[in-house]
Amino acid sequence: MSYKKRLIAGAAAVAAMAMGLAGCGSDANGNASDDSSDGGVVNITYMHRLPDNDGMVLVKDIVAKWNKEHPNIQVKATKFDGKASEMIKKLETDVKNDNAPDLAQVGYAELPEVFTKDMLQDVSEYAEQYKDHFASGPYSLMQVGGKYFGLPQDTGPLVYFYNKAEFDKLGISVPKTADEMVESAKKAAAAGKYIMSYQPDEAGNMISGLAGASGGWYKVVDDAWVVDTETDGSKAVADLYQQLLDAKAATTNARWDASFDASLQDGSLIGTVAAAWEAPLFMGSAGDTGAGDWQVAQLGDWFDNAGKTGPDGGSGVVVLKNSKHPKEAMEFLDWFNTQVSDLVSQGLVPAATTEDAETPEDWSKFFGGQDIMAEFKTANNNMGDFTYMPGFSAVATAMNETAAKAVDGSGKVEDIFSVAQKTSIDTLKNLNLSVKE
């Protein structure tokens, strides 16, 4: 082999390697802009972050059912392993590079932000016909400024989980008012038990939901944001938690730390506010401790909320900007989001109203035979309206940090809301959006 030939061969090898590298970026995720209609078949890609744990009906199995019945609309689902904020970042990059999936899971709190980032496709014309399949609250959370971008999947109303057997032993019942709550919590704490948990790492999601039960924080007036995070509801939340912290009558473990699980397993935590979707996670955390003794109840009037509850999490699925087949994507989405029993197995409280969600057997075993889905549904119907602002994740982060300071006494619970106010306005201004102060 002559020198020249060798050089060319070497160059070709390098070029092939370079191409291989460049190729890595594009084909792994199933690309919406691929030539998706070969021979009349429409290919749809869907990225989710549902748990897909053992014992659940896997998303790919649900999708396989659809694919079997619809040879002309073939869907490929991919699971994103990571946090919501990581997924948004990835989708943002993918949309820019024109290789994003057609459909993607987006939390209600993230939707305005994703809209502002120009990642969505207006699918109002297709959404309208599916409107009746979903509860109106979650359905309306899928719109921004009157335009719809997808369909709701699940909801996260806040409810109260408690260990009834332990409550009976202490001679207390689920408190009805804030005063009763403080009194019972102190009584329980005296016996080394806690009927409330203060979770600093969930403050941004849960405390905003609790405060929002009596009224939202963000309103759009004359196309500008009016921010008020220091509402009466917020004050009531701050007041109750501060009293509980001062009396050392609530646990202060972070929700996603092993110590929270430990407090359930050693039986010291016997009551907590939780989002409906936490039920299966909660069962995993508790292990065998108290299995069969737990119950689900509606929130009492603890936060000046008069029987209302607030949202904590919950997601919809949106059609991303580059999708070439929004009509087919929406058709699949309506079908997928109404596969109620399959979605329930994933731990979701479905937003669909097409059939009643049944409580899975192992859930009702853990929750003392109770039909907890019915409780969740009641909570769903009691949910106050809460509009999120674009960039809410920055507000939630600031709230969490401030919430942690109340644990060691270097701050107060009410600081969470003043920080939320300041961060909300800073965030909106940094995004160059209109704010009325």
């Binding site: 050089l7 160059a11 092993a258 969490n400 919430a403």
Partner: protein, 323 residues
């Protein structure tokens, strides 16, 4: 691809005009370039290019130009000049992050380097039998990925499940590894645990490169083991110490794994606890102003600070050596 070939050819042609160069040397030269190419191309793609991209994007900020409450759903990549840098250098959050990592470096690096040096000296002495076992044992923590090491330690720190905390409590010592003034020490402990063995290996290699006749000569002159360690071994591992210190300083400025993992247990460790975390969470939109522009600016300022510190240390070290 063609550029490389041309470059190789051009280089070859230029050289060939020199009469002394034989054809064989020319060919060798070209072959050298061809062998370099895979590295050079990858290096440019995954190293040089991202740096320039980060510098470029640090002059932009993503803002909604559409006005109104939702900005009309259009984000514009707006050239903002030095505004992102202005934000970084005037941000109290950023500087307290830098302050934390500097404090961390001041505490952790000397402790670790001295520990590594002592261990290396011990292994290099005649005191220790079965050097291989110890060498491997000390090095083993380094084989555990930083994130995993942090997770293990968080379990050991956790008041409710840790055998250490419970054991200490049983003998009447109540420790809280997450207490405000202790939490940095708890992180430093994880880093020290992970990297001491690695630094020890650097020192050990340097120690074993010292010619043994030096020791013999010293012994004949009546020096004992300690004197040999102090007067011969220590001066000879200076270069290795400089390398280990530089790597450690740069490494601790980029502190990320430990606080990131520990923040799960202790949410008061903020998302901007260290500059590295601040850069990541800024790019993800969990800190405001958000986006790639401000995040790149944070990363660049941080890199500059780390570079300046490393250079200062190297200069100071050289000065000391000259004296």
């Amino acid at each position: 691809m063609t550029t490389t070939t041309h470059a190789a050819n051009a280089a070859g042609d230029r050289r060939s005009s020199k009469p002394k160069r034989s054809d064989a040397a020319k060919r060798e030269h070209r072959t050298g370039w061809a062998f370099m190419a895979p590295f050079a191309i990858l290096f440019a793609l995954v190293f040089i290019l991202p740096i320039f991209w980060a510098i470029y994007s640090s002059f932009f900020r993503q803002v909604a130009e559409g006005g109104g409450a939702y900005g009309g759903g259009k984000l514009v990549n707006k050239f903002v000049g030095l505004q992102n840098f202005q934000y970084v250098v005037t941000s109290a959050t950023f500087w307290s992050g830098i302050g934390r990592v500097l404090l961390y470096t001041l505490i952790q690096v000397p402790v670790m380097i001295i520990a590594a040096l002592v261990l290396a000296m011990l292994l290099d002495s005649y005191i220790v039998k079965r050097v291989t076992v110890f060498r491997l044992g000390y090095f083993l923590p380094y084989a555990i990925p930083g994130i995993v090491a942090s997770i293990i330690w968080v379990f050991l720190y956790n008041g409710q499940i840790s055998p250490i905390v419970k054991g200490l409590a049983a003998i009447g010592v109540n420790v809280d590894f997450f207490a405000k003034n202790i939490v940095i020490g708890s992180m430093a402990n994880i880093t020290t645990w992970t990297f001491t063995g690695y630094n020890m290996l650097i020192f050990l290699a340097a120690l074993q490169a010292i010619p043994h006749d030096l020791y013999e000569a010293a012994r004949i002159d009546g020096a004992n083991g300690l004197q040999i360690a102090w007067h011969i071994k220590l001066p000879n591992v200076r270069a290795a110490a400089l390398l280990a210190m530089l790597l450690s300083i740069v490494g601790t400025i980029q502190l990320f794994n430990e606080p990131e993992i520990m923040s799960v247990s202790d949410p008061s460790i903020s998302k901007s606890f260290t500059p590295m975390m601040m850069a990541l969470y800024t790019s993800r939109g969990t800190l405001t102003p958000s986006g790639d522009g401000p995040a790149s600016a944070i990363a660049i300022v941080m890199a500059l600070i780390a570079g300046v510190l490393a250079a200062l240390y190297a200069l100071a070290e050289r000065k000391v050596n000259e004296q």
